[in-house]
């Protein structure tokens, strides 16, 4: 035992010495190599180290324009000068910043921010001090640069929205990428690089963004660029051509401002091209790009008219009487009525021991579908809805584009709600009552629709029953997106024209609910339907006391709606106006619709075809950045 241990000890000792020798020899090799590199070759490497070195710099692409159908810019890039500082190149960053204050205005908050950022990032990375310098300020800094070590003027571009508030909800705005959005894309980390945050800017962000380029540059010891060795230019982002007519859009925004809170859509009846879509109140998208003062932002958040929301697609309202066309078409399709079926309206409808009131106290007398639409007789639709049934009414509503998302280009879009028996069973676990059919048949109860959906509904009625879809982006680069031949919905022509006769009477018959808003210009006459949607039930006491709706607090007043089309005999344009708590469809919404449809027909945007971007291929979805492949110049 002892001998064995001793034996193995001897072998171990010998081998351990060999091992130690190897280890030390290894270190000797390393030491020799180090000496060779640092002493023998030291001179050569010292020269190399002092000489210029090669660096690769990312070239950000310029963002594609967003233009209206005539090519008028709605979102552009404008030159912007900013002052940057490289902390490493200053002796005392804080002192340098105070020094800068002598030349241009820099508030103390900014200085605190720069100092905070300097602590977080690496010292050789430039930090933005101020954006949006005036020419005079640029000059003052440039002239005094020798006095301001580490500072530099950088010119970049900044997104600008010339139409401001008028296009804020559709065009959207850009902003710096959040940490989550950055991911592994180095392009997004460049100071000042912005991506789409809302609206079209967000939906088509990748196409608008373009492709980053790269430049290989020689820099000297202190990191200054000496010359460029090669470059691959950035590819500009694609241009997005909207179907919008900037003039109609601006006009729409202006006239909506007559009300406290309203939204509207003007659309092509045959192609679904949206010519204007406005929501009032709005906001200035340029503030989001350049920096929003916090008091302005607080005000936007507090405003009852929800300015940051596009109510034309995100506002869901009971459609009220604008829904009566759907009920009428469903009843016609079900064979429950024909054009002569008449109902006597005494001003109310008795069903199951309940009294359902017509809006007109004295009643409409004997009415058929056409005259019921003209006078917006509730009793008529109460009656025929019972003969048709909620499921058939809901099916017709969905056919006409209600209750479902329309794949619109803005992701704020909401689906609305079209109830039926299955929905109520699934959602509330209760059985549908016929009393609910009566209420929902006039667009109250559970029913909800967005202004965009109501415009689509109108378009599908007046274009001969074609399943048109709304479109906002006519071209992305050279890729056309407007639908030219929508499928048929299989609704008999005579049903549609009967309903349209009723809509014509609403506006152009002396007894129609919107007669006061008729268009008198020959050949431009409009037709339509008013709607007044209850926000809350009218109590018996209020009815008895005859409380006027306009005397209630704003939030409790009725919504005013109008859907319309023009010209009457050859429908080209449809429109929908919703005035939140505007009390009456004929008094608040119809006049706005009249102005809109008149303006639209005067400009006649449908006559001008949109142009694809020249030289752009149809490959529109581009990844932000690909590994470097450089064309190296000699």
């Amino acid at each position: 035992m002892v001998k064995r241990e001793a034996d193995s000890g001897k072998v171990f000792t010998r081998r351990a010495f060999i091992m130690a020798g190897l280890q030390l020899a290894g270190l000797g090799v390393l030491g020799t190599r180090l000496a060779w590199l640092q002493i023998a070759q030291g001179g050569r490497y010292k020269t190399l180290s002092d000489k210029n070195r090669i660096n690769v710099r990312l070239l950000p692409p310029s963002r594609g324009q967003i233009v209206d159908r005539f090519g008028v810019p709605l979102a552009v890039n404008v030159q912007n000068y900013r002052v940057l500082v490289v902390p490493e190149q200053t002796e005392d960053l804080e002192q340098s910043l105070h020094h800068l204050q002598e030349y241009i205005t820099v508030d103390d908050k900014t200085i605190a921010r720069v100092l905070r950022e300097a602590k977080r990032t690496q010292k050789f990375l430039p930090i933005k001090i101020r954006d949006d310098l005036e020419w005079e300020e640029v000059a003052r800094v440039e002239v005094n640069l020798p006095d301001l070590p580490g500072m530099m003027i950088d010119s970049g571009s900044i997104r600008n929205y010339p139409y401001g508030e008028a296009t804020a909800h559709i065009v959207g705005y850009v902003g710096a990428a959040s940490e989550k959005e950055v991911g592994t894309d180095p392009l997004l980390t460049l100071p000042g690089f912005k991506i789409g945050k809302s609206g079209i800017e967000k939906t088509f962000d990748l196409a608008l963004r373009g492709k980053a380029g790269a430049a290989e540059v020689e820099v000297n010891v202190i990191g200054r660029e000496v010359r460029e060795l090669g470059r691959r230019d950035a590819v500009e982002g694609r241009r997005v051509t909207l179907t919008i007519d900037g003039e109609i859009q601006r006009y729409a925004q202006e006239i909506l401002a007559r009300e406290k809170s309203a939204s509207c859509v003007v659309m092509d009846a045959h192609t679904g091209a949206v010519y204007a879509m406005a929501s009032h109140p709005s906001f200035d998208p340029n503030l989001f790009v350049r920096g929003m003062p916090s008091d302005v932002y607080q005000e936007l958040l507090a405003n009852e008219g929800i300015p940051l929301t596009n109510k034309a697609i995100a506002g869901q309202y009971p459609p009220g009487s604008t829904f009566k066309m759907v009920t009428g078409l469903a009843a016609l399709a079900a064979g429950a009525i024909d054009r002569n079926t008449s109902v006597f309206c005494p001003g109310y409808f008795d069903y199951g021991g309940n009294k359902f009131h017509c809006w007109k106290h004295g009643g409409h007398g004997r009415v058929n579908l056409r005259s019921a639409l003209m006078g917006s007789c509730d009793t008529y639709f109460y009656k025929i809805s019972l003969d048709t049934g909620i499921d058939k009414i809901a099916a017709m509503a969905r056919k006409l584009g209600l209750g479902e998302l329309l794949d619109f280009e803005l992701n704020e879009e909401r689906p609305g709600l079209i109830p039926d028996r299955a929905w109520k069973k699934g959602k509330l676990g209760e059985v549908w009552h016929n009393g609910e059919t009566v209420v929902n048949a006039i667009g109250q109860g559970y029913m909800l629709a967005t202004p965009l959906q109501l415009a689509v509904m109108t378009a599908r009625i007046v274009n001969g029953g074609k399943a048109v879809k709304p479109t906002l982006a006519g071209f992305v680069g050279a890729l056309g997106r407007v639908q030219d031949n929508p499928a048929s919905l299989d609704i008999p022509e005579r049903h549609l024209s009967l309903v349209m006769e009723g809509m014509n009477d609403v506006v152009n018959n002396l007894r129609g609910t919107a007669y006061g808003s008729r268009i008198k210009e020959p050949g431009m006459e409009m037709a339509g339907k008013t709607g007044t949607a209850q926000v809350r039930r009218i109590t018996k006491e209020q009815r008895a006391q005859g409380v006027k709706n306009e005397d209630l607090p704003w939030k409790q007043r009725h919504h005013a709606l109008f859907v319309g089309y023009a010209p009457v005999d050859n429908p080209k344009y449809v429109c929908c106006v919703v005035v939140e708590h505007g009390v009456g469809g004929s008094s608040a919404a119809a006049p706005l619709a009249k102005d809109l449809l008149l303006k639209t027909q005067m400009r006649n945007p449908a006559a001008t075809l949109m142009q694809p971007e020249k030289g752009a291929d149809e490959n529109i979805v581009m990844p932000g950045f690909k590994p470097l492949v450089l064309d190296r110049g000699e």
Binding site: S8, F12, G31, Q38, G42, D50
Partner: protein, 374 residues
């Protein structure tokens, strides 16, 4: 006999007092170099690297001292369990790696991201020391007796290759082979092994990943691709060479600070050190490493039991391989394999692995007179 027993039963205080404090001092010196270099790498700032490295070292040092105080017999008993636990963890990352993306080599334990392959290197040394503990010189010279060591080495190598991590696989093979050699296996085996390796290199080439081939090609001719993979080596050599005899001075390394040096805080930390402190600083660091290696050998040599001898020896071999590979890589002597410089580079697992190793080495020292029976 009774003397040994007495020694082994000394009080805890006695054990602490008689720990190998010289080794602890050397470890602190090497880590100090690392902290200084990391402070410089961050442009003269403790954040983000130096402070965290210091914190990890504090925790790791405490762990090392605890390991050092645990009786060597316990480590002897735990040798195989630790080895199999290491293997299980390697299998686990392999499974996780398949679910995740790419070469995922670590397990997230919540407080630390553990790279099982790092710990596996120590586990292999433990298992080999355990296996050879009771072997006679005759045993070691018999080829059948060497089958188990071969399996002990090659099982983790196979798993690491699956990750795929060629560098670590080669290091486990080399460290294992070094241990088997030290224990006394026939020398012709190793000569044959080296010759065989030379013969299969062309075959291995076929199975290498493109990035690995690229690294070897670039190593052979770095100037061929000065903007690509050769960039690292070229820049590193320029940084080192421009340091000269006395260096550019603390915090003055232009190459490293202008970001020409990639991964200056991890794999290329030696470059930064030698650029700023010159040949004198570089040799001083190499000298510290030489002392650390020799400490391991001396501790092994003074051990009364084979287990401790082999363990201390194996850890010393492992550590020296690490140091050699990293420094040779940054000086352009071998291809870029992506190995950190232990105790100096920024990184938790490699420091943890090194400190565990030194802890075991110190346990060998503290319990050098213990009687370890089979």
């Amino acid at each position: 006999m009774s003397r040994i027993a007495l020694r082994a039963d000394k009080s805890l205080w006695y054990k602490i007092l008689h720990m190998n404090w010289g080794l602890v001092f050397l470890i602190c010196c090497v880590t100090g170099v690392g902290i200084a270099a990391l402070y410089s790498a961050a442009g003269g700032s403790f954040s983000p690297w130096a402070e965290r490295q210091l914190l990890r070292f504090g925790v790791g040092l405490a762990g090392m001292l605890v390991i050092a105080l645990i009786d060597i017999k316990i480590w002897y008993k735990l040798a195989w369990p630790i080895y199999f636990l290491g293997l299980a963890m390697l299998v686990l990352v392999e499974i996780k790696g398949h679910i995740g993306m790419g070469a995922q080599r670590w397990i997230n334990l919540g407080f630390v991201q553990l790279q099982p392959s790092e710990l596996m290197k120590i586990a292999v040394v433990l298992a080999l020391a355990r296996h050879f503990h009771g072997a006679s010189p005759e045993d070691v010279r018999r080829i059948p007796f060497l089958v188990i060591p071969a399996i002990v080495i090659l099982a983790p190598v196979a798993l690491v290759l699956l990750q795929p991590d060629l560098g670590t696989a080669l290091m486990i093979i080399m460290a294992g082979a070094g241990m088997v050699f030290t224990v006394g296996a026939p020398a012709w085996l190793f000569i044959a092994g080296i010759a065989g390796t030379a013969a299969i290199i062309p075959i291995a080439w076929q199975f290498m990943h493109d990035y690995q081939k690229q690294r070897v090609m670039t190593f052979l001719d770095p100037e061929s691709d000065p903007l690509g993979a050769g960039y690292h080596i070229t820049q590193s050599k320029i940084a080192l060479g421009s340091g000269g005899l006395e260096g550019k001075g603390f915090l003055q390394g232009t190459q490293s600070h202008l970001n020409f040096l990639p991964e200056k805080q991890t794999d290329f930390i030696f470059t930064l050190w030698a650029e700023e402190w010159g040949l004198l600083g570089g040799l001083a660091l190499l000298g510290l490493f030489a002392l650390l290696f020799l400490y391991g050998l001396v501790i092994g040599y003074r051990c009364r039991h084979n287990f401790g001898r082999y363990l201390a020896m194996g850890i010393s071999i492992n550590f020296s391989l690490y140091v050699f590979i990293n420094i040779a890589m940054v000086m352009g002597l071998i291809p870029v394999v992506g190995a950190p410089l232990p105790m100096v580079s920024y990184g938790g697992t490699s420091m943890l692995a090194a400190l565990i190793g030194f802890g075991l080495m110190m346990s060998c020292h503290t319990y050098r007179h213990s009687k370890v029976t089979r």
